[in-house]
């Protein structure tokens, strides 16, 4: 009986290890807040404290590292908060490719602003913003009032309307500064009460990549002002909105599963494919060598016969006749 139980346990553990993809790398969420790693650290803490997200979280401070991170198989989601165009220069190629491959992205503030982020603000974070709106909300506060447009996974646990402190938001605007919608493949989840422009936009690529754009997350590194980022991360609604967004982008995107599942086996398979190619090449070499050997033996034998005939008929026969 004990043996049966032990055997069952072994089989169960083995099955569990297969189901979890033993040897698969841990999924990684990368956070980049340009020149301010403190804010990045706060955002990282929000993710690690969320039981729903079991990924590793890493803060990086160099934009070029973001490019490298987008190439790693275990990068599940990239979170970017930028406040200057220099921080997002050169990221378009790698991030758009990463999204096309099925990667997850969360972008805040400057990455949604076309004059700074160029195509990034159209194809990866499709807010198409060309202007900013720094008006206070209807209560006269430096905050944005989020009005729910559509029910979505990122709205889970959040009220239909709530305020988040903010210096302003980036918007797609006409010449008068009014919100001008740009058609595109995206979904507006929250709008700004004052400008009616999107405050949270989700987008999915053909291969299952997911991006969340938040143009109204705009805070500063100064503890003495109300819009200090430390105050923002202390707001429950922001924590919920941010972690929901990361969860939706990271766990719903396809790239990690596609590339990282059975990574060790895939890498071994690559070597095996090369070995197989070499083996076939060696076999072909052997076949060629054997064929050549046989041909040479035939030529050699024929050569001997020809030589015998030539010498016998043309050299010896005339001598004997004489």
């Amino acid at each position: 009986m004990r043996r049966i139980i032990l055997s069952s346990l072994v089989v169960f553990l083995f099955a569990c290890s297969i189901a979890q993809g033993e040897g698969d790398p841990e999924p990684n969420i990368i956070i980049f807040t340009a020149g301010d790693p403190v804010f990045a650290g706060m955002l990282a803490d929000l993710i690690t404290q969320d039981d729903r997200i079991d990924s590793e979280v890493e803060v990086v401070s160099n934009p070029e590292v973001i490019i490298m991170a987008s190439l790693l198989p275990n990068t599940e989601c990239i979170v970017i908060y930028s406040d200057h165009k220099d921080q997002v220069n050169g990221l378009y190629t790698s991030l758009s490719l990463y999204l096309q491959q099925g990667g997850g992205l969360v972008g805040m503030r400057e990455v949604c602003y076309e004059p700074s982020a160029l195509e990034l603000a159209e194809e990866v974070f499709p807010v198409f913003a060309n202007d900013s709106n720094r008006n206070p909300n209807s209560k006269g506060k430096r905050a944005r009032t989020y009005i729910m447009e559509n029910q979505h996974e990122v709205t889970s646990g959040l009220p239909e309307t709530f305020d988040l402190l903010s210096m302003g938001t980036y918007i797609s605007a006409d010449d008068d500064g009014n919100y001008l919608p740009v058609p595109g493949d995206y979904e507006i989840v929250y709008r700004d009460e004052v400008s009616n422009s999107p405050l949270l936009v989700t987008h999915e690529s053909e291969k299952g990549g997911r991006s969340v754009s938040m143009p109204g997350i705009w805070c500063v590194n100064n503890q003495r002002v109300d819009v200090y980022y430390g105050n923002l991360v202390a707001e429950d609604n922001f924590v919920r909105l941010f972690t929901n967004s990361v969860l939706w982008a990271a766990k719903g995107s396809t790239r990690y599963d596609t590339i990282s599942t059975n990574l060790t086996a895939k890498l071994e398979n690559s070597d095996q494919e090369k070995d197989e190619l070499r083996r076939r090449a060696e076999e072909a070499d052997k076949d060629r060598a054997n064929q050549r050997l046989i041909l040479l033996i035939i030529v050699w034998g024929t050569g001997i016969v020809v030589c015998v005939l030539v010498i016998w008929k043309l050299v010896l026969a005339p001598v004997e006749t004489a």
């Binding site: 190619l277 070499d285 030589c307």
Partner: protein, 292 residues
């Protein structure tokens, strides 16, 4: 008793036949391919430049791959101008260096230079942990009467294998460093491609395997029935040929607009893989900046 004449005939016949066989056997090359041509401009050209790489198969080959990579120097504010006449350079922000005061001396290696580049170290550590191994090449080169220890580390084949060929286009996955006897150094970065920014730079790319020829030209110059392919559909630096027959000639030729190679020059590395094995050593073409 064997007749002496018969014995003589036998010996002479065997000798003649053996000589014939040795002549035939000795005529066959033991290399699977032979490089016929590797032409490139020695300095950044002022006019249109043409690059040609050509080889011939000396036996049937199931899979043959020609892989081009292009690296450009990225100078830091601390390095010395090793390539004479380098007028402009891409600069590596000092934030990109582990130690921005680091100086190199005789005895330091290219690996020491790479170990001071933040993103390379970051990527190397992460890939090592995942069991991803790059291809590494080491060589000593002579440039402008200097001996340069050179190391090139290429992650593109393994990343391509994991994520697909399109995933490495325009991605900086190849790193290099050169250091001379006095500690003067260059840090290089590059892509898997025939040239940097090919879509913008190349006027024509022709790939030929014996009688089969494919020509790629800029997309806006392609018209229906022209028989040309849009450049955007051309292989990005990796040309693969299957079922190559003995005596097939394979050629890759491309011409580019003048003055579009970056100012500091270019290091082009060409590798040929025969049935998965690297043939010989990589060809390294150095295109130095023009003299000012």
């Amino acid at each position: 008793m064997i007749d002496k004449r018969v014995l003589g005939i036998a010996i002479v016949s065997i000798l003649l036949a053996t000589l014939l066989i040795l002549t035939i056997a000795g005529d066959i090359s033991d290399q699977p391919i032979e490089i016929l041509e590797n032409e490139y401009p020695m300095t950044v050209p002022r006019g249109e430049a043409t690059f040609t790489f050509s080889l011939i198969a000396r036996e049937d080959i199931e899979n043959l791959q020609i892989r081009f990579t292009s690296l450009s120097p990225r100078r830091t504010e601390f390095d010395q101008a090793m390539w004479v006449g380098a007028a402009t350079a891409w600069t590596l922000d000092t934030r990109g260096l582990v130690d921005d005061k680091k100086e190199y001396q005789a005895g330091d290696t290219p690996e020491d230079i790479l170990a001071n580049v933040v993103k390379f170290v970051w990527f190397q550590n992460r890939t090592e942990a995942l069991g991803i191994e790059p291809e590494t090449y080491e060589r000593t080169m002579r440039v402008e009467n200097q001996e340069l220890q050179t190391t090139i580390i290429d992650y593109s084949p393994v990343i391509e294998y994991m994520s697909g060929k399109e995933s490495t286009a325009d991605m900086p996955l190849i790193y290099g460093a050169m250091i001379n006897e006095t500690g003067g150094y260059l840090y290089l970065e590059g892509f898997s491609d025939v040239i940097i920014n090919p879509i913008r730079n190349i006027k024509m790319l022709t790939v030929t395997q014996s009688d089969n020829q494919t020509t790629y030209i800029p997309d806006d110059l392609v018209w229906e029935g022209s028989g040309r392919m849009p450049l955007s559909t051309a292989p990005r630096g990796v040309f693969e040929f299957t079922s190559v027959k003995k005596d097939d000639t394979i050629t890759v030729i491309f011409s580019m607009e003048p003055n579009l190679i970056p100012g500091p020059g270019l290091l082009q590395m060409i590798r040929v893989y025969v049935d998965g094995d690297l043939f010989d050593v990589p060809r390294i073409n150095l295109i130095l900046p023009p003299e000012t």
